[in-house]
């Protein structure tokens, strides 16, 4: 789903305020602060969830649930522990993992691959995912972009998360490590293997695509 950006002069003065300022105003019941905070963070979160889940409905649900948790205080966000955007990525990732778990319990649904840290096993997992997932719903208009998205969707989740956060959101290794709750070395190795698997998949698809 493609929507245009929504500039609104009513929230122009909020654009310069920090997330912490807006959160304080939200807790005081100011609706325009919540709107400003939502509009500041929804797009990156939605794009992450879209690539992570491969479904616009699931991505919208994840965005809504993440902000709902922020609104009702269930998430207990502490500004001292990091940026709100990264915190929200972490929340979205956990929600996506829950979704994977519920899909895994459904026998008819494609089974998400279990974690594999070995390169050979990763390739096997991608092949298996490719065989079992069937035709994926087209989400993007651009052929190449859709090709990359589909290749990303075949990566096991623990490889997909760092690749999306690093390549599409340009986060550092440390930020990814914090979001995914793994150490730096694990981020490095998963990124390396994830990229290699992706490159291989895209390379394999290329002749067919060009033909």
């Amino acid at each position: 789903m493609t929507t245009t950006s929504r500039p609104d002069t009513r929230y122009a003065d909020k654009a310069t305020q920090t997330d912490s300022d807006l959160l304080r105003q939200i807790h005081a019941g100011k609706a325009d602060a919540f709107t400003a905070l939502y509009r500041r963070h929804q797009a990156p979160l939605y794009r992450f969830a879209l690539l992570r889940c491969g479904s616009s409905d699931a991505a919208a649900d994840i965005v809504q649930e993440a902000f709902m948790g922020l609104l009702n205080g269930r998430l207990n966000y502490d500004p001292l522990r990091g940026q709100l955007q990264h915190f929200l990525f972490g929340v979205a990732r956990n929600l996506a993992l829950k979704l994977d778990e519920s899909r895994r319990r459904q026998p008819s649904a494609p089974v998400a691959p279990e974690p594999h840290d070995d390169e050979a096993e990763l390739e096997y997992a991608m092949e298996a995912a490719c065989d079992t997932s069937g035709p994926l719903t087209r989400l993007l208009d651009n052929e190449t972009a859709e090709e990359v998205r589909r290749a990303l969707a075949l990566l096991p989740p623990h490889y997909r998360d760092p690749v999306i956060l690093y390549e599409l959101h340009e986060l550092s290794y440390q930020e990814i490590a914090d979001i995914c709750q793994v150490d730096l070395g694990t981020v490095r190795s998963r990124l390396s293997r994830g990229r290699a698997a992706l490159a291989k998949r895209l390379h394999a698809l290329r002749p067919a695509h060009l033909a």
Partner: protein
Amino acid sequence: MDTKQDYQDSMLDAHFATLRNELAGHDAPRCVEKELMQAFTRQFASKQPWYRRWSLPHWGAAGAFGSLAAAMLLLVLAPQRLVTVGPSMVGFDDGAAFIALDSLERIAREPDARLVEADLPQTALAPLGVPVNPQNADGTVRAEMLVAADGHPLALRLSASN
């Protein structure tokens, strides 16, 4: 700063750039914002204290009701207040104290007022609020009471008798 150099692959980078560009126009559906704003309204409508939930008409109605209640209270208390205010009409004229026991208009209107005179010990005047000179405390004062034809006391005039 982490470097991408170790992992750069030109083909992959070009693909990711295309994906980034394609995703740039993707926002969460508008219905998400609408749902969240409704949740926000629900949450803070119940959380706000009663005085923040009141609108201008509510405050107007409360002000009108309060004013009415205050006016009624004043009316209820008014007779008691008049009794206490009456005796305060005290004046001093050439060393003599004049105490009006009724309104000055009523005293002026009374056609057949008569004067009743008596001598009182000065110590009896202090409880009435009349200043008493301690040096003359054992003396007496001349009390002249102006009485209406129907016997209603109108005014009192006190003067030193010796």
